[in-house]
């Protein structure tokens, strides 16, 4: 049976012997500016046996590729023009402030941790990025930018703050490469990503970071 959920535009279908299928319609917005960034239609099937969900998704984009590339390049240039390797901590700080010089680094953290959240979330566990505890840039000989992050993920509904170490590599026009390792207290198993992710199925990744 199709069960209408109170959250707008979503349905849950219980498929006996198969699992739970969610039908979702949602809008997206630019993380930084809040501007409307398009709508998406998706289905998510959580199989009865614990395995990653099966996702199909289609989004409309309000920004064209050229605009996205230009913004990505602006962020990239801001990072490359720093005279020393970038380091930072507590972004945003206790009062919600982000130093302008660290905005690009925060933006990358948002994109990179969305990949962690994509892997970690389940039918009953969701995440938000609460804070970047620390960041440190590794200078490379090639054109890629590389950062080591410690990020705090706010886990719902447990309310825990999960500390994750994230190694992120990026060049505009390329998918974000993210390796992560999250410590966890409530579960006995620590989990991390072995290989590179940057799943093409994720709306955020695929064509490089869209800011």
């Amino acid at each position: 049976a199709l069960i209408p959920l109170l959250a707008p535009s979503s349905l849950l279908q219980n498929i006996p012997e198969s699992g739970h299928k969610y039908y979702l319609q949602f809008s997206t917005e630019d993380y930084r500016t809040g501007e409307d960034a398009g709508n998406c239609l998706a289905t998510v099937l959580y199989p009865k046996k614990k395995s990653p969900p099966v996702v199909s998704i289609k989004c409309s984009h309000t920004k064209d590729q050229k605009e996205i590339h230009e913004e990505d390049n602006r962020i990239y240039q801001r990072i490359r023009h720093q005279s020393k390797p970038i380091t930072g901590s507590n972004i945003p700080d206790s009062y919600g402030n982000i130093e302008p010089a660290l905005e690009p680094v925060w933006a990358l953290a948002v994109a990179g941790s969305s990949s962690i959240m994509w892997e970690k979330s389940t039918e009953t566990l969701g995440y938000f990025l609460a804070q970047v505890k620390s960041v440190r840039q590794w200078i490379r000989k090639d054109n890629f930018t590389e950062f080591d992050y410690t990020v705090l993920l706010h886990e719902i509904p447990t309310q825990e703050m999960i500390s994750c170490h994230m190694r992120l590599t990026w060049l505009p026009g390329h998918p974000l490469k993210v390796k992560h390792f999250c410590a966890s207290e409530s579960h006995s198993v620590d989990e991390g990503s072995g290989a590179e992710s940057g799943s093409a199925a994720a709306p955020a990744a695929g064509k490089g970071a869209n800011f």
Partner: protein
């Protein structure tokens, strides 16, 4: 950029010969320049270092780049000279701030401003540590003693005093009570900020706003600005993202109960942990925590007069109704939803911020032991949890710049609910005529008289 004002002050103190108390920036200008060529960059770097100009962005001359924003503060006596040299080098500029001192003055509380009348220059658009909130409460009562009294509620685990403010027109007739608490969860700083803002708004406007004046005659507002004081202080001093109280468990090896899982409503059944190290630890039993007990005891003692309970949290932009422990709807779910939706609509009207309304179990997650649920089960009909801004972009770390808009819009939602309560229990309530609202009040009294027939 405005954060740099703090840097100006400290720089001023370092310059010899200047009085360290009164720093004047009369007619200093801030220029916005985007250097186009490397030569321009070099000239600007030279200018900044020779004249010792105050760089707002970037902070160091060596970080000046072609194609990037440059903001410099020019002291008034040098403005003409600097503009001349920029013109000579064909460097275009824009005046970002024509008078720095004017801006500084605007951002400080001054004599005669309404803030001062209410509580002596308290800044409501900043987050305040507990010490300042205690002082604020004392000041609020002192300056508004005709309608405000401060009361002791109980003590926290770490032995700190919990106070609430009672606001209302003294009256001989029995009054109904609206209770609002903030800061059950330590890291949700926007919540205590709202309680303070709410009190300020009520006290600033009750003499002139007919709606507020009306309900203050019929209702007493009880406001507890910080419920989890120990946790709040801990989030300022040790761990900004701390949630729970600071009670000690397990032979002093583990800290804190989630106070919003500690009330006696299906306690310990769902959405909790019995493990102290969890952020959802529900305590050793219902009302095991002194903070919970203080609030519950008080509400129990006044329950026949309390008609509405509001508890403020963040984040998520939600107005939540009972219950969290079951999807079974409460007896007055239609009323709860109706009023909740009206409140959300009023809120959205201000800045377009969208809020969802519904029961916790349906739109959020299952949880037991919440204050909102418990209050409803003992017979208080209108019980709401507000989850304030935002939706996760900053989450708990909501910038202070959003305090004002968040509080302004939330104010509209809360007054909608208070208004509803006022009209529900006092349908023939007294109407106060003031010169500025004569027309409104006349209409109001006509409608009220008509409905009473």
């Amino acid at each position: 950029m405005w954060l740099s004002l703090g840097i100006i002050f400290s720089l001023g103190i370092l310059i010899p010969g200047k009085s360290s108390l009164k720093l004047q920036y009369d007619r200093d200008q801030v220029l916005h320049i985007v250097p186009e060529t490397f030569q321009q960059v070099q000239h600007l770097q030279l200018l900044c270092s020779t004249l010792m100009l105050d760089l707002w962005k970037p902070l160091l001359p060596e970080d000046i780049r072609a194609g990037e924003d440059l903001h410099i503060r020019i002291p008034a006596p040098l403005v003409e000279e600097v503009k001349d040299t920029l013109d000579q080098h064909l460097i275009s500029y824009r005046v970002l701030i024509p008078d720095v001192q004017k801006l500084v003055d605007q951002s400080m509380p001054r004599e005669g401003s309404s803030h001062r009348q209410v509580s002596g220059g308290y800044v409501y658009t900043k987050y305040h540590p507990m010490e300042e909130i205690y002082q604020w409460m004392t000041q609020i009562q002192k300056k508004n003693s005709e309608v405000v009294t401060q009361h002791f509620l109980g003590k926290t685990f770490e032995n700190r005093e919990m106070y609430y403010l009672q606001i209302g027109q003294p009256s001989n007739k029995p009054k109904k009570i609206i209770w609002m608490d903030c800061g059950i969860h330590a890291r949700e700083w926007i919540s205590p900020a709202f309680c303070q803002w709410f009190v300020k708004e009520i006290l600033q406007n009750y003499k002139t706003d007919p709606k507020i004046s009306r309900f203050l005659q019929n209702l007493d507002l009880y406001v507890l600005p910080v419920l989890n004081i120990d946790g709040y202080i801990y989030s300022w001093e040790e761990d900004r993202l701390w949630r729970k109280s600071r009670s000690l468990y397990e032979n002093g090896t583990c800290y804190g109960t989630d106070l919003n899982r500690n009330f006696n409503s299906s306690w310990g059944s769902v959405g909790i942990s019995f493990n102290c190290s969890s952020d959802l630890f529900c305590g050793s039993g219902p009302e095991s925590e002194p903070e919970t007990k203080a609030v519950a005891q008080f509400i129990r003692s006044k329950k026949s007069d309390i008609v509405c309970y509001l508890t403020m949290h963040s984040y998520g932009q939600l107005i939540l109704t009972p219950y969290g422990s079951t999807t079974k709807p409460p007896s007055n779910s239609e009323e709860l939803m109706q009023v909740g939706k009206e409140a959300a609509a009023a809120l959205t009207g201000k800045y377009g911020t969208s809020y969802k309304v519904g029961s916790t179990a349906l739109i959020l997650y299952n949880n037991s032991g919440s204050s909102r649920d418990w209050v409803h089960t003992i017979g208080i009909p209108l019980s709401y949890t507000f989850e304030l801004r935002d939706m996760g972009t900053y989450g708990f770390l909501l910038p202070a710049s959003q305090i004002q808009p968040t509080c302004e819009e939330t104010m509209l939602a809360v007054t909608t609910i208070i208004d509803y309560v006022d009209k529900k229990y006092f349908p023939n309530g007294a109407v106060v005529l003031t010169s500025s609202s004569l027309g409104l009040s006349l209409c109001l009294s006509i409608v009220l008289t008509w409905t009473a027939l």
